[in-house]
């Protein structure tokens, strides 16, 4: 995983594998502190042992490195990664924070591309991206709405990829990412 963009995509894939049909991402970036929270409605995790690379429920291989690698990347900068089962309903919430000015911080990479990729990799997923700035939160991407618009012919489906990329890039720029 060379950058945060790869890690985000990876966490998203975890959600998909856990049977999630809905994923909500919230990000904020102020004064070199990048915060990200990802909430899904998948099967949920059993406990903190998911952060152990040698604990995995899958059968194709016996190690799982995705989460431990991101945890390490966050902690290397003095940040953290927390993961917990949602209490009010099925699913998992994952949060991490990192100091982007730290010498060991991984670069963001192309985060906008990650969101465009998610749209095409999992066409049925309900996905929402919120960006927080100064206390207020704004819904930046809503894949369900985009799909509905595409069905009504308002947005050309083939152009959607570029559209999502550009919207995401524009909004991320506002919080100094990319």
């Amino acid at each position: 995983m060379k950058d945060i963009a790869d890690h985000l995509f990876d966490i998203f894939e975890n959600s998909v594998n856990a049977g999630a049909s809905e994923v909500i991402v919230r990000i904020a970036n102020t004064e070199n502190h990048f915060f990200c929270s990802i909430t899904d409605n998948g099967t949920g995790i059993s406990g903190p042992e998911v952060l152990d690379p040698f604990v995995t429920s899958r059968k194709t291989r016996r190690v799982g490195l995705g989460l431990p690698l991101l945890k390490k990347a966050a902690e290397d900068t003095g940040g953290y990664l927390k993961i917990k089962k949602r209490e009010e309903m099925r699913g998992t919430t994952l949060q991490f924070e990192m100091d982007t000015s730290h010498i060991d911080a991984k670069p963001f990479g192309d985060l906008a591309q990650t969101f465009a990729d998610i749209f095409f990799a999992w066409p049925e997923m309900v996905f929402k991206l919120y960006i927080s700035t100064g206390g207020s939160e704004e819904l930046v991407l809503d894949f369900q709405r985009l799909r509905l618009e595409a069905e009504e012919g308002l947005v050309d489906l083939l152009k959607l990829r570029k559209h999502i990329y550009e919207v995401a890039r524009e909004e991320l720029k506002k919080i100094d990412i990319g």
Partner: protein, 122 residues
């Protein structure tokens, strides 16, 4: 208000566009997107394939993602399903390999031995 002819054309266009996503596809390409695939550059592979599909105006090809299936050292891997032929799995599919496989296998139905991993059951 648009006239009837315009509306009809719009409807046809949307129908064509939607064919890309709604399952009436002749060809399906599945890209391995586990942690291993992502770390090996599977997102670049997927985007190259999407670009090629767009450039060739092919609405009958679908690209989708799957998780890891246990051969992490051979990532990025893709599976190609054409009609009811045996599915073909390729290994080490970087951007150049994706281009080659698209031109040979997808456009001309010739399996690319160089990147072949296995052929599946029907």
């Amino acid at each position: 208000m648009k006239n009837l002819e315009e509306l009809r054309m719009m409807r046809e266009k949307v129908k064509r566009d939607l064919a890309l996503r709604t399952g009436q596809h002749r060809i399906k390409i599945v890209v391995g997107m586990g942690s291993c695939g992502i770390a090996a550059g599977a997102r670049d592979t997927m985007n190259e394939l999407l670009d090629l599909i767009e450039k060739n105006h092919r609405t009958d090809i679908m690209v989708t993602a799957s998780g890891c299936f246990g051969f992490c050292a051979q990532e990025p891997m893709i599976h190609v399903y054409v009609d009811d032929q045996r599915p073909v799995t390729y290994r080490n599919v970087d951007i150049d390999a994706a281009r080659l496989i698209f031109n040979e296998h997808i456009l001309n139905n010739r399996v690319v031995e160089q990147y072949l991993f296995s052929k599946g059951k029907k």
